[in-house]
C-alpha cells in the first residue's frame, strides 16, 4: 500500500489555515491516486509527530504544503517525522531545487519518500498563472496585463525570496504577460509600492502563500492600497493610482495546486501519471466554470 501525506503548517488561531490542505487532499482522494491520503500539521492534529503511525501503508510520500525551502522543510518536518539520517545536503538544492529523498522513520516500519515543498516545483508556475486566470475570469489573460508574484520575504531565509523570483522569472520567460515582477512584504522591492513597478493599466497580484489568513487577507490588501481597513473589504479589481489591481488571494487555494502535490509524489516514484491528468482536467474545469 502507498500513502500520501500532505504536511501543512496549520494554526492555533485561524480555522481556515487547514482549508487548502483538506481541499487538495480531497481532490487527490477523489481520483484514487493513493490507498491512503492524510493531512497533518505543525499546529493542528494529526501532528507531524504522530501522523505516520495512523497509516497502514508501508510506503509513504510526504509532500510539504510550504512555499519555500527552509526552516520547516529542512528542520521541523524531518525532525518531527523522525526521519532517520535526514540532512538537507541530501537534497543538494540551490534553494529551489529540492526534489525528494528516501528514508525511514524511527518510530514506524515504513519507507518515507520525503519531497521538496510544493512552492518550488515547476508546476507551481502554472498554478500562479491559473490563479491569474481565475481572478480575472479570463483564460487568456496576459496581453495588456502585468503580474506581480508576492512573497513574504525574510532576511533570515534567502530561499523565501528565491521561490518567488523563480516563478516570476519563469512566467516572464513565457512572454504571456506584458510585465512580471517579484514583490515582497518584508524586503525590497515591496508590494506597498506595487503600482510604481508597473506601466500596465491592469495588474494581477498573486500572493505566493498557501492559505488565506492574516498576511493575505489583512496585510497585503491594506499595504497595496485596496482598502484602508480590510474589514470593509475591497473590489476585484480595485483601482489604485490609476491602475486596476486584480488581487487574487493566496495561490494555495487554487484547485490546480493538487496537481503540484501529485507531481511532487510522482517525482519521488509514485505511479500517479493518470491521476495527474485527471486532476488537471478537473481543476481546469472548475476554474473555467467559476471564473473566480
Amino acid at each position: 500500500m502507498q500513502a500520501l501525506v500532505i504536511a501543512a503548517h496549520g494554526s492555533h488561531l485561524n480555522a481556515a489555515s487547514s482549508t487548502p490542505a483538506f481541499a487538495h487532499a480531497d481532490t487527490i482522494r477523489e481520483v484514487g491516486a493513493f490507498d491512503e491520503v492524510r493531512e497533518c500539521f505543525w499546529k493542528e492534529e494529526p501532528s507531524f509527530r504522530e501522523v505516520l503511525r495512523t497509516l497502514e501503508s508501508e510506503e509513504v510520500f510526504v509532500v510539504p504544503l510550504f512555499v519555500s525551502e527552509g526552516y520547516f522543510t529542512e528542520q521541523v518536518i524531518p525532525r518531527e517525522l523522525r526521519l532517520s539520517g535526514f540532512d538537507p545536503e541530501k537534497w543538494d538544492s540551490d534553494g529551489t531545487s529540492a526534489d525528494h529523498v528516501t528514508l525511514t522513520a524511527s518510530d514506524v516500519e515504513k519507507t518515507v519518500h520525503y519531497c521538496g515543498p510544493i512552492g518550488t516545483h515547476d508546476a507551481m508556475t502554472d498554478v500562479v498563472v491559473q490563479r491569474a486566470e481565475s481572478v480575472t475570469g479570463d483564460p487568456t489573460v496576459g496581453d495588456g496585463f502585468g503580474l506581480a508574484v508576492v512573497g513574504h520575504g525574510t532576511e533570515r531565509n534567502e530561499n523565501s525570496a528565491k521561490a518567488v523570483h523563480y516563478h516570476a522569472d519563469r512566467i516572464a520567460d513565457r512572454g504571456r504577460f506584458d510585465e512580471v515582477r517579484a514583490l515582497f512584504m518584508d524586503e525590497s522591492p515591496e508590494v506597498d509600492d506595487v503600482t510604481d513597478h508597473f506601466d500596465s493599466d491592469d495588474v494581477v497580484v498573486v500572493p505566493l502563500f498557501i492559505a488565506d489568513g492574516y498576511h493575505t487577507e489583512e496585510d497585503i490588501p491594506e499595504d497595496v492600497g485596496l482598502t484602508d481597513d480590510y474589514r470593509t473589504g475591497y473590489d476585484v479589481p480595485t483601482t489604485v493610482d490609476d491602475t486596476r489591481i486584480w488581487y487574487s488571494g493566496a495561490v494555495g487555494t487554487e484547485d490546480l495546486l493538487a496537481d503540484v502535490v501529485l507531481e511532487r509524489a510522482s517525482d519521488a516514484g509514485a505511479s500517479v501519471q493518470a491521476e495527474i491528468e485527471q486532476v488537471r482536467e478537473r481543476t481546469r474545469t472548475v476554474a473555467l466554470a467559476t471564473g473566480d
Binding site: 492555533h12 499546529k43 492534529e45 504522530e50 501522523v51
Partner: protein, 352 residues
C-alpha cells in the same frame, strides 16, 4: 444462513477454526463442531449446514471477524474493544449487539450494533446527545465531514486542539461500516487509536517534557528554560480532565513525575502537544520577570470578587453568568463597577 457464509466456514474448517469459543474441524466430509455449550460430530455438507445453523450466533460472530472486520491490528483491536469481545462470551454479546453496545471515547459515544448475519454497524455522536432521539440530530455518513464538524465548538469558536473538551453537539453518524467508523474517529480524535493500541501492547513511546523541550528550535527553543514547578502548573492548566480528553502519560522525564493529577481518559497523551509547547513559550517569557510588590487596598468582598473573576475565566464560566446576577463576582456589571472604582487610573506602580 447464506451459502457464502457456509462456504467460507466449510473451507476454513479444513484448516481448523478456533475463535471466540467456536471450534470447527473438518476432515473430508466429517466435521467436528464445538461451542462452550455444545459439541457434535456430523458427516456431510447437509448435516454441517444444519449444525451451523443451530449455532448461528457463533458462526455469525466468526464470519464478521474474518470476512467483514478490518484486518489492521490496531483497528481490529479497537473494534474488539468496542463490543467487549475479550470479556463477553459470544452468547451474551450476540444478544447485547442486537440492542447496541456502547463505549465512550473522549467525548464520543460509540455504539456498535448487529444489523444482520455477520454484519455490524456503528454510530458516533457526542456523549451529551446519547439520550437524545436521533431526529433532532444532524445526520452524516461521510467520514470526511467530521473534519469540519469538529473544527468549531458549540459557540462557533475555533478548536485548535481536537481532544479539548469542547466537542460540539447536535450531530450523529448513525450507520457506518467498520472502516468508515474508524476513519471518522480518526478525524475527531487523530492518532488516538494508534497510540491506545501501542499502549495496550506495552510499547507506547512516551516523550517526556524535558526531551520535548530540548527538541524545540526557533521561537520555541526557549521553553527549555521553564522551571519544573512551572511545567507542573502548565500541565495543571492544560492537561487535566476538564480541559483535554487525553490521559497525560508524560512527565518531566522517565524518573521525575509531575505532581499533577492524571486524567482517566481512554486514550493516552504520549508527549506535550503543540498547544502546550506554544503556551510554554508564553509562560517561559513571563516567568523571566522578577516579582515586585504592589500596594492597593481592597475590601474583603473585592478581594473575593477578584478570586471569583479569575476562577470564572479559568473555568470558562463567563457565558453562564446571568445578566443581572449581581451576586456573582464575575458578573459584567459587577466587574465594570470594580474597574471604575479601582482601575480607572491604573494600578499603583510596584517596587522591588
Amino acid at each position: 444462513m447464506d451459502d457464502d457464509v457456509l462456504d467460507s466456514l466449510w473451507l476454513a474448517a479444513d484448516h481448523g477454526v478456533s475463535f471466540d469459543g467456536l471450534h470447527v474441524d473438518r476432515t473430508d466430509e466429517t466435521v467436528h463442531f464445538e461451542t462452550p455449550a455444545d459439541d457434535a460430530t456430523v458427516t456431510g455438507r447437509a448435516a454441517f449446514e444444519e449444525v451451523a445453523t443451530e449455532h448461528a450466533a457463533y458462526v455469525s460472530n466468526w464470519f464478521f471477524w474474518h470476512e467483514r472486520a478490518p484486518t489492521r491490528d490496531d483497528h481490529w483491536a479497537f473494534c474488539r474493544w468496542l463490543e467487549g469481545a475479550s470479556e463477553t462470551p459470544v452468547s451474551d454479546r450476540h444478544a447485547a449487539l442486537d440492542g447496541g453496545v456502547t463505549r465512550s471515547w473522549g467525548q464520543l459515544e460509540l455504539t456498535v450494533s448487529s444489523t444482520g448475519f455477520g454484519e455490524r454497524r456503528y454510530a458516533l455522536r457526542h456523549e451529551a446527545d446519547a439520550d437524545e432521539p436521533l431526529a433532532p440530530l444532524t445526520r452524516y455518513d461521510d467520514p470526511l465531514a467530521a473534519r469540519q464538524l469538529v473544527k468549531h465548538d458549540g459557540d462557533g469558536r475555533y478548536r485548535p486542539l481536537k481532544t479539548a473538551t469542547n466537542l460540539p453537539t447536535g450531530w450523529v453518524f448513525d450507520d457506518l461500516l467498520p472502516e468508515a467508523m474508524l476513519e471518522t474517529v480518526e478525524y475527531v480524535y487523530p492518532a488516538t487509536i494508534a497510540n491506545w493500541y501501542r499502549e495496550r501492547k506495552g510499547d507506547l513511546d512516551v516523550t517526556h517534557w524535558r526531551e520535548t523541550a530540548a527538541r524545540q528550535t526557533g521561537i520555541y527553543g526557549l521553553v527549555s528554560d521553564l522551571d519544573d514547578e512551572a511545567v507542573g502548573w502548565l500541565a495543571e492548566a492544560c492537561c487535566v480532565d476538564s480541559q483535554c480528553c487525553k490521559r497525560r502519560e508524560w512527565d518531566l522525564d522517565d524518573e521525575c513525575d509531575l505532581d499533577v493529577p492524571r486524567s482517566e481518559g481512554a486514550f493516552p497523551c504520549r508527549e506535550p502537544c503543540s498547544l502546550v509547547v506554544a503556551a510554554a513559550r508564553t509562560v517561559t517569557k513571563l516567568e523571566r520577570e522578577a516579582t515586585e510588590t504592589y500596594e492597593l487596598e481592597l475590601t474583603p468582598s473585592e478581594k473575593a470578587q477578584l478570586e471569583t473573576l479569575v476562577d470564572a475565566v479559568a473555568e470558562d464560566r463567563l457565558d453562564e453568568i446571568r445578566e443581572a446576577d449581581f451576586d456573582d463576582g464575575a458578573n459584567r456589571y459587577r466587574v465594570r463597577y470594580l474597574r471604575t472604582k479601582l482601575f480607572d487610573d491604573g494600578l499603583p506602580d510596584g517596587h522591588s
